[in-house]
Symmetry: C2
Subunit: 454 residues, 2 copies
C-alpha cells in the first residue's frame, strides 16, 4: 500500500542481496535499495560485517548513507567509524542534523574529532558541533539539535516566511517558529498553523504565544522526558541561564530515551549488568551476567554457612529442610513485588507523594493481608498431608514473618537507593532476592529451633 509496507525484507531478498554483496554487483545493490527508507537499509546491513556494509554504503548517496549509519546500534556505529576515513565521516556529518552529528563525533577519539570537524564543508555546522560537544549526553544540552527556525519579535509574517524559506532545507521538522528578542532571548513561539492563517503584514509580536515551556541546558534527560510527555510537547526549546535560545529537543529523540530507559530498568531487574542484546557475542553476554550470578552465589554460600549452624537440628528433624525452598522463594517473590511498586511510584513522581511513613504503613498492611492468607493455606496443606502440627506451625509462622520482612526490605531498599542517587530499579533484581533468601532462612530456622525446643 505504501512504501513502508512494500519493503518487506524477506529471507529470499536477503539471500539474493548477500550474493550481490559478495559478488560486488554495484548495479543490483543500487537499484534494489532505490527509494528504500534508511532505517530499513540499516536493518539489512546489520546482517553484514563492517567491510561488507561499507561497500554498500559507498554506493549510496551521502545523505542516505549518513541516515543509515545514524540508525545503527551504537556499538556497530563504533565499529563502522574505525574503517571510515575522516573525510568520509565529515561528509556524513555534513548531511546530518547537529544532534546526530555530535553523537557520531562522541564515538571518536578527541584528536580524530578535531580532524573531522576541520574537514566539514558547512562552517555553521562546525560551530554548532563545537558548541554541542560541551554538553554531557544525558542533559538537555546533549539531547538538543541546533537546527531550528527563529524569528525576531519585530519581524512581520512575511519576513518570517522568507526566513523559513532560507532555513527550510536545514530544518526537517519545523513544528513552531521560536520568537526571540534582539539578544536572542526566547520570548515564545508561533505555530506554523498560525503563520499560514495570519496576514503577511502582521507583526510576530502581536500573535506569538508567550506561554511556552522551555528547559535550561543542564536539565537532566529524565526531567526533559517527563516535561515533554506530561505536556504533550512535540519539541522543547533549550535556553542558557540568561534565557538565550540554544537549541531544541524533538519528540523522536525523547521516544528513544524512553525506550532505552525502560529496557535498562528491565535488564537491571533481571540482573544483567551491561546493555546487552540478543545478538552480542557469547563472551559479552556471559560477562554481563556473571556479576549478579556471583552475588547470588555468595548469598547462597552465606545461606549454607547459616544453615550449617543448625546441622544437629536437621539431623534430628530432617523435615525442617523440606520447606527451605518454600520460604526463600516466597521471600524473593514478595520482595520483588514490593520493590517494583515502589520503583514505579518513584518514576511517576508526583509532588504530593505519600510520605515514607505512609508508604511503610500501607506496605505493612498489604503484607499482613497476604501473609495471613498464605500462612493459612500452608498450614492447612501441611497439616493435612503430614499431620505434624509442629512443622505446620513452624512453616506458617515463618512464612508470615518472611512476607512481612520481605515487604519491608522491598519497600525500603529502592527508597534508600533513590536517596543515594542510584537507579532504584536495581533493587527489584537479584539484590533483593539474595537479601531476602538470607532473611527468610534466619526467620525460619529461628522459629523452628524455638518450636521444636531443640
Amino acid at each position: 500500500m505504501s512504501e513502508i509496507m512494500d519493503f518487506a525484507l524477506s529471507k529470499e531478498f536477503l539471500d539474493r542481496f548477500t550474493l550481490a554483496v559478495e559478488g560486488q554487483e554495484a548495479d543490483f545493490i543500487q537499484s534494489s535499495l532505490e527509494g528504500v527508507k534508511p532505517v530499513d537499509i540499516t536493518e539489512l546491513l546489520e546482517e553484514f560485517d563492517a567491510e561488507e556494509s561499507k561497500y554498500v554504503l559507498d554506493l549510496l548517496a551521502p545523505q542516505v548513507g549518513a541516515e543509515v549509519v545514524i540508525e545503527l546500534e551504537e556499538d556497530l556505529q563504533g565499529r563502522f567509524l574505525t574503517i571510515f576515513s575522516s573525510e568520509e565521516i565529515a561528509r556524513y556529518i555534513d548531511c546530518l542534523d547537529s544532534d546526530d552529528g555530535v553523537h557520531l563525533l562522541n564515538l571518536l577519539s578527541i584528536s580524530r574529532r578535531e580532524e573531522v570537524i576541520s574537514l566539514l564543508e558547512n562552517e555553521e555546522k562546525a560551530g554548532h558541533l563545537l558548541d554541542l560537544l560541551r554538553y554531557d549526553d544525558d542533559v538537555a544540552g546533549g539531547l538538543m539539535a541546533k537546527e531550528l527556525i527563529k524569528a525576531n519579535h519585530n519581524w512581520t509574517i512575511k519576513r518570517c516566511i522568507e526566513e523559513i524559506r532560507k532555513q527550510a532545507e536545514n530544518v526537517q521538522k519545523i513544528y513552531s517558529v521560536y520568537v526571540v528578542d534582539d539578544h536572542d532571548k526566547l520570548l515564545g513561539k508561533v505555530s506554523l498553523k498560525r503563520i499560514i492563517l495570519a496576514d503577511d503584514n502582521t507583526k510576530i509580536a502581536d500573535i506569538y504565544d508567550s506561554d511556552i515551556a522551555m528547559v535550561e541546558t543542564f536539565v537532566e534527560e529524565e526531567e526533559v522526558v517527563q516535561i515533554m510527555q506530561k505536556y504533550d510537547l512535540d519539541a522543547l526549546p533549550v535556553v542558557n541561564v540568561r534565557g538565550k535560545l540554544m537549541g531544541r529537543i524533538t519528540i523522536d529523540d525523547v521516544l528513544d530515551v524512553i525506550t532505552e530507559q525502560a529496557e535498562e530498568d528491565i535488564q537491571m531487574m533481571s540482573g544483567i549488568s551491561a546493555d546487552v542484546e540478543e545478538d552480542d557475542t557469547v563472551w559479552i553476554i556471559s560477562k554481563a551476567r556473571l556479576p549478579w550470578l556471583v552475588i547470588g552465589l555468595v548469598g547462597g554460600l552465606l545461606g549454607a554457612k547459616f544453615i550449617s549452624l543448625f546441622e544437629a537440628d536437621i539431623a534430628l528433624v530432617p523435615v525442617m529442610a523440606f520447606f527451605i525452598p518454600l520460604i526463600t522463594a516466597t521471600g524473593g517473590n514478595v520482595g520483588i513485588q514490593s520493590s517494583t511498586i515502589v520503583v514505579q511510584g518513584l518514576a511517576n513522581s508526583s509532588v504530593f507523594r505519600d510520605s515514607i511513613f505512609k508508604k511503610l504503613i500501607k506496605t505493612f498492611l498489604v503484607a499482613v493481608v497476604n501473609g495471613i492468607i498464605l500462612a493459612i493455606i500452608v498450614f492447612g496443606i501441611v497439616i493435612f498431608s503430614t499431620s505434624d502440627q509442629t512443622i505446620a506451625t513452624t512453616v506458617s509462622t515463618a512464612l508470615f514473618s518472611v512476607v512481612l520482612l520481605a515487604s519491608f526490605m522491598g519497600t525500603i531498599t529502592p527508597l534508600i537507593l533513590d536517596k543515594l542517587g542510584v537507579n532504584p530499579a536495581i533493587a527489584s533484581g537479584p539484590f533483593i532476592t539474595t537479601a531476602n533468601d538470607l532473611l527468610g532462612l534466619a526467620v525460619y530456622f529461628f522459629v523452628a529451633h524455638q518450636l521444636y525446643g531443640l
Copy 2:
C-alpha cells in the same frame, strides 16, 4: 521562567487549596487555577475525592475541565463519571478530540453512552464518536482521532489554506495536510512547511508527497507503535481496507502506549497480576499480588514433597540441606536473565532474527561459560571451608547442570509463550523462578544421591 516552571505545586499551596475546597471559596479556587495547565490541575485534584474534585471542576471552563478529566488515571475517571450527569459529560465531550471523547464513552454503560451521544451539541462529533466506538481500543482504529485536515488533490494551495482556516479550531496539531482523491482515498500528504513556501495557485497534485506510511484500522497497537517509532513519525494516517482515510494517530498517544506497555511488562516480571499503582487501596494491591504468591507457594510445597523423598539421605548427611538455597537461587537468577534477553529480543523484532536453533546454541554456550566459572568458584570455596570433597563435587556438579537447564528453560519458555500469543514478559517472572526451583532441587538431589552412594 515559563508557566510550566512557575506552577510548582508546593505542600503549602496544597494545604491552602484544601482549605479553599472545604470552605467552598470559589473566588480563590478560580483565581489560583487561572492559566494553570490542565495536567497540573489533574495532579492537584488527584489529592481530593470525587465530590470535592467535582466542585472544583464545575468552577472551571468546560474546555479546561474536559482536559483535566481526560488526564486523570482511568480508574479515577470511572469514579468521576458516575457523579456527573449525562449533560455534563456531553458538555465535556463536546470540548474534546474524538479519540479522547470515545475513551470517556467507553467507560460508560451502553445505555448511558447513547444518552450522552444524543446530548452532544456538535453533530459531526457525534458521528465521529459512533464511528470510533466500533473499534477495539488496542488497534489502530481505537487509537485514532477523526480530527485532521484533508485536501482534495485537485485543490490549489489557496483553497487548502481556506480549509485549514475553517478546520483550525477543531484540529490542535496539524503536522501535515492529508491529500485524498474524490472518493476520500488517501494519496499522500503535504507538510505545513511546503504549504507556507508554495505559491497560492499551485495545485496540491503537483506538490504532495505520495511516499507516505499508513496503517489499516485493524492493525494492532504494538505494530502502530513500532512503525511510528521506527520511521520517526509525528502522525500516522489510518485507512480502511479500500484505502479511504478514516483518521490519524498522533505521537503523544503512542508515547502513552509505550510507557504503559513498559510498566505492564515490568509488573508481569514482578508477579503483579493487575495494573496496580502505589496509591491503590490495600485490598486492590493485595489481590493483585496474591495469585503469583500462591503459585510460588504451590511450587514450594511441591519442592517440599520432593525433598521429602530424600529424608533418609538428609538425616544421614545433613550437609546436603545446606546448599538448597544456593541451587534454587542460582537457577532462578539464570532463568530470569535468559528469559529477559529473549523477551527483549522478541520486542525488537527484526525480520532476520536468528533461528530458534541458533538461539539455543548461543544460550547453551553462554550457560557453559557461566556454569564453569560458577562451579569452579563454588568448588574452591566449599573444599576450602569444609575439606569435604564429596559435597564440593556434588554442589559444583549440580550447580553447573542447573545453570544449563535454567538457561534452556529461560530461553524456551518465552519463545513458546510468544508462539501461543501470550505476552512473553510473563515468563521472566515468578513462573520461571518456580519452575527452576523444582528443576534445581531435582538435579541437586539426584547428583547428591549418586555421589554419596546412598
